[in-house]
């Protein structure tokens, strides 16, 4: 008799928990009381014990997934037994059809009402099996011939085939009666479509996972930028001795200012002199903006957000520092509003705290440029013929060549360097 392993309720106030890791693999022998998995709620992890002896026959939830309390995360059965809760008839072991209907969706990212509207899955991605369940349930009772809905332009066997191969039927042209999609339409679609992703999926023998809403947005924006914006890059190394001292002094006087805040302030000042980098390219026109609104890339779980510090041209360094802390907090806590991530006219991405020396960033359309900031570190430099250690930082500007040319970008970077090397300019 198989025993379900469920997400335990570790607190009266716990509604969902994250599976941290499996301590046993499918097929492993499990003794009652043995630790089989680790789950997490808030900042506490709990080692999960088996309530029955047997063999772990199924892991239904992957490490990192957040599921509701009570969700079946795995099944312990007798050795050699396949899972297949409750119902007694033989079933293919881990097919989607076997999921109990009450099982919640594994993802917290798309809190849509009920499971009946599976999140849109981009073409080429294979939907996760739990997510495809509702479709099965809904379509099963009605004979396919009577289907009139948009998504019902194919026989069940074709829909199943599409699902298995990760094809969005909405993208396939049907050649059957009334535009119905036939098996050969799928084959033609597959033959025509580039397929690096399916190659990877096949190689690993896994189903792939659907894009979260945020990954989907990042994929769309960066692909659009990469395909439409002719990027070019310029890097400059900036001596940071003075800036380091300013940061330390400000800190001593109670104002926490980061290097990134200095870069924002310096960029705002330099953009005032070189406004074509504070511009947008749209419909074959260049629009130069009066406001300097600087977007700051903030890494969050499974993605990034770019909250915008608005009106930087009129903000003191300290005001910028307060605003960046506020925005980053909101971004990470998931409470940021649409307004706070819109309206940027220039962006900064800083990977200095990760020890990245320098890198090139993808422009955030329709902006003209993005500044990629590396770490502040001691690097060898030649001064008066001697090699000495100097604290420096490298920044790389990615520019839209439709808006500016190399010399203009170089002048902007020269100004940025001058300001950061004389940071007192930012305090007056």
């Amino acid at each position: 008799m198989p025993t379900d392993i469920t997400m335990p309720k570790l607190s009266d106030t716990m509604t969902e928990g994250r599976l941290v890791s499996w301590k046993k693999s499918v097929g492993d022998r499990v003794e009652r009381g043995e630790i089989i998995a680790e789950v997490e709620t808030d900042k506490a992890t709990m080692e999960l014990e088996a309530f029955a002896s047997g063999t772990l026959v199924e892991q239904r939830v992957k490490p990192g997934e957040l599921v509701a309390v009570g969700t079946v995360i795995g099944v312990i059965g007798a050795a050699g037994e396949s899972s297949g809760p409750s119902a007694g008839k033989p079933k293919p072991s881990v097919e989607a059809e076997e999921k109990p209907p009450e099982e919640p969706k594994p993802s917290a990212e798309a809190p849509q009402p009920q499971a009946e509207a599976p999140p849109a899955v981009p073409a080429g991605e294979v939907p996760e099996r739990v997510l495809e369940l509702p479709e099965e349930k809904e379509t099963a009772p009605s004979p396919p011939q009577e289907d009139r809905g948009e998504g019902e332009r194919a026989a069940p066997v074709v829909r199943r085939m599409a699902r298995e191969r990760g094809i969005d039927l909405g993208l396939v042209t049907g050649s059957g009666p009334d535009g119905r999609i036939l098996q050969e339409d799928l084959e033609r679609y597959l033959a025509e479509k580039p397929k690096p992703e399916s190659a990877v999926a096949a190689g690993e023998g896994v189903e792939g996972e659907p894009l979260s809403r945020m990954r989907g947005a990042i994929a769309r924006v960066t692909a659009q930028a990469w395909q439409s914006i002719p990027h070019f890059y310029e890097t400059v190394e900036i001596a940071m001795k003075e800036a380091v001292e300013i940061v330390r002094e400000l800190k001593g006087s109670g104002s926490e200012v980061t290097y990134n805040d200095l870069v924002i302030k310096a960029s705002a000042m330099a953009l005032a002199k070189y406004p074509k980098l504070n511009a947008s390219f749209a419909n074959d026109r260049i629009v130069t903006h009066g406001q300097v609104n600087i977007g700051i890339a903030v890494a969050v779980d499974d993605g990034l957000l770019v909250p915008v510090v608005k009106g930087c041209q009129g903000l003191a360094l300290k005001e910028i520092a307060l605003e960046t802390v506020r925005l980053a907090d909101r971004a990470r806590s998931g409470r940021i509003s649409q307004d706070e991530i819109s309206g940027g006219t220039f962006s900064i991405s800083n990977l200095g705290m990760f020890g990245i020396e320098e890198f090139a960033a993808v422009i955030f359309p329709p902006q003209a440029a993005i500044l990629a900031v590396g770490s502040v570190a001691e690097r060898p430099a030649v001064r008066d013929g001697q090699v000495v250690a100097v604290k420096t930082m490298r920044v790389t500007l990615s520019c839209d060549h439709r808006i500016v040319d190399g010399a203009y970008a170089a002048q902007f970077l020269g100004e940025l360097k001058r300001i950061l090397e004389n940071p007192v300019l930012m305090l007056v």
Binding site: S11, A44, M46, E47, E256, T258, T324, S333, M353
Partner: protein, 213 residues
């Protein structure tokens, strides 16, 4: 319950003591214990974390089975590892986390620092940043790991971990907020004095263990 001051001890050594005690408390052969310790510099990574988020190669990195992400321990920071049998105190992890937060808020208040909870972000916060981190591991309902309260430590190593991204999550300490050095011993005494009674108040000890759910 017992309170043991381990003094200055390496993270791994303290972890071994925790592991043993957890097993003994679960078996009922040792009393619940609060371990207090100060660690030499070390980054530790919880289950929510990833080693890639640590870049300062000068400081050791240890992975542990507590909840939470990357954090730093070092001299001047009071670390507390309560080994508590939640199986006999209501089996509620959130209530335990809130108890730890309340304890640390009261300790901070004793030194004149106003600290608070931030909903959804376990730990203790002040206007100047995060004052204490909390990360707990539970095995057979017995707790491990616990809290790290910044008393007089150098907070710059935190700048090298910023697991979340661009703008550093500000970290502060009692000494930094008050502008004068606060002796670790004073804070240790405050924590040790408050812990047992507040624990019994918030998570009363039940004479018989509850059956497993």
């Amino acid at each position: 319950m017992m309170i043991r001051d381990l003094g200055d001890l390496k993270f791994e050594a303290a972890l071994a003591i925790q592991e043993n005690l957890t097993a003994e408390v679960a078996a009922g052969t040792a009393p619940e214990t609060l371990l207090l310790v100060e660690h030499p510099p070390v980054y530790t990574i919880g289950r929510g974390g990833c080693r890639d988020n640590v870049l300062d190669s000068g400081i050791r990195v240890v992975e542990t089975n507590r909840g939470g992400d990357v954090t730093f321990h070092g001299p001047g920071q009071l670390v507390g590892y309560p080994i508590i049998d939640l199986g006999r105190r209501g089996r509620d992890l959130h209530r335990y986390l809130r108890f730890l937060e309340e304890l640390l808020i009261k300790v901070a208040a004793e030194f004149g620092v106003t600290a608070r909870r931030e909903p959804g972000r376990t730990g203790i916060w002040t206007d100047g940043g995060k004052l204490a981190s909390i990360g707990v591991g539970v095995r057979r309902w017995v707790t491990m790991h616990g809290f790290a309260l910044n008393v007089a430590n150098d907070v710059t190593p935190f700048h090298s971990i910023n697991p979340c991204g661009i703008v550093a999550c500000p970290i502060t300490s009692l000494s930094a907020i008050l502008g004068r050095p606060i002796p670790l011993d004073d804070v240790r005494r405050s924590v040790a004095g408050r812990f047992p009674s507040l624990l019994d108040e918030r998570l009363p000890f039940l004479e018989t263990a509850e059956p497993a759910p």
